[in-house]
Symmetry: C2
Subunit: 290 residues, 2 copies
């Protein structure tokens, strides 16, 4: 998904948010905004939003001399979600349709996003998400694929959200699949890393691997060969969140996207309402046709 | 008022809105956004938002080959407000405090703004504004000054809004003052020009002059000498809207600002709520001290 013109103002807004997360120095905030403005003044066609995000966060780390500005909010998000986990698991287990319940909760967890959605309210998203229907009509196919797959590649998104992902991974494992859980190649935005996966105990359920890319989404071009190998061999893939959708929307399945719609551009692109929980199969075939 | 960093994303958002108003050509939209991004990548310190607006709209006129992209919406705004005018005048006349009523309605009219506030709802703003209190506590001083002044310089803002301004100009004239009404030096955004003043009949109430500046706010440095002369001789000045506030916030009185608060930056700067109607005296003395 290449950047729409409507993304341009948001690039600066997200850069400013991130700059303020990284340092209190106003002169550095200005230099960061100027750097991102220069970047978007000469964006090559076909650039995706997560490529702009990758460059933005690299610039911020450099100019603010801060390796991981979101370290503390990632920890808080993980702790908050871990506190909720037993109750959420109870909901899944007691649900007449545990897989659907886990899919919905994993999508709700995607609200935890300091990039597109910095003012999120997890408790409200939980309440509304639990009551809402799942957008799209790809659940039956997803259900069938999960039941058949022996190996599933699960591409995670954010810290905190990764705890909600555990519920869905548990369902997959209970169905007999082995799950490989993918995290980012290093700290970027509030995205989940190996450290987060370990902190929340994802490594007890799944093999955890890094994509090798330090971008707030999956960019195959820059990914680690080991990840690419797993990606191309996977029987079934699930990619969480807008960033992974932006990076993989032109990639062939068996690939599903699971996300909460958090910006008007994605909403329009998917034909869904802002705030909707969406499970969507990739519409691209193995030859790259839509 | 110099541009805050929070204004930077909004510069791009407003540029995109204006680009789409000027042309349907997506390649031109992109060139415009790239041009504005280059501009804000190297903004000199102390640049005000209306200077960015002036450059943005100049760039759009050039790249889209469109001299006045807002011509049609300005006409619609004037017509809508003229349709409402008799009823509004009735409200003023029947009010126990006609000057306050006219001040409030003139502030409500400031909601008509395709820059900071493109999704405005005039009818709702009218309903809420009429019921609300006027922010700030400078009404008594303003009332006193209006009663004493023989010459008042009234710096207008937007098309449509200028019809609401007529109600307040009528009160000033009824109090014995001569009013000079100031419009922009040429079409820029949806700001009122000589053509709008003539269209709504402002020239029957006041002498209408141009500031000589084609910016969505008053920039004294670039203004016409005749306007500057009137500005420095005025017994009392009233400047409408955020753009004039941005340009004149560091200028000494007797100068009052009357506006509807339409963005978080102005809200924070003024210590008022988003949406508030505010009458505020300049806090700068003749020596430039605050």
């Amino acid at each position: 998904l290449k950047a729409y013109l409507d993304c341009y103002p948001c690039f600066l807004r997200q850069a400013l948010d991130a700059a303020r997360m990284a340092t209190d120095d106003a002169a550095t905030h200005l230099r960061i905004l100027q750097g991102v403005a220069s970047l978007i003044a000469e964006l090559p066609p076909e650039t995706t939003p997560i490529e702009v995000g990758m460059e933005t966060h690299r610039l911020i780390r450099e100019l603010a001399s801060c390796a991981d500005p979101y370290r503390s909010v990632k920890r808080t998000s993980n702790d908050h979600a871990l506190f909720l986990l037993p109750g959420l698991r109870q909901r899944v287990v007691e649900s007449p349709d545990p897989l659907l319940a886990a899919v919905k909760l994993a999508a709700v967890g995607n609200v935890i996003d300091f990039g597109a959605n910095p003012g999120f309210d997890l408790d409200r998203a939980l309440e509304e998400g639990w009551a809402a229907d799942l957008g799209g009509s790809d659940l039956p196919e997803f259900r069938r694929r999960v039941a058949q797959a022996r190996d599933i590649l699960y591409i995670g998104d954010n810290a905190g959200e990764i705890v909600f992902d555990k519920l869905l991974v548990e369902q997959m494992v209970a169905g007999g699949a082995r799950v490989t859980f993918v995290v980012r190649g290093g700290p970027v935005l509030n995205d989940a890393t190996l450290e987060d996966a370990s902190y929340v105990g994802m490594d007890e359920l799944a093999e955890v691997v890094s994509s090798g890319v330090r971008s707030p989404g999956t960019i195959l071009r820059d990914a680690h060969p080991d990840f690419l190998d797993r990606f191309h061999r996977a029987e079934l893939m699930l990619a969480k969140g807008q960033g992974n959708f932006e990076g993989l929307s032109d990639v062939a399945g068996p690939l599903f996207f699971l996300l909460k719609v958090k910006c008007p551009v994605i909403a329009r692109h998917l034909g869904e309402e802002l705030g909707a929980l969406v499970l969507r199969a990739s519409t691209v075939d193995r030859n790259g046709r839509k």
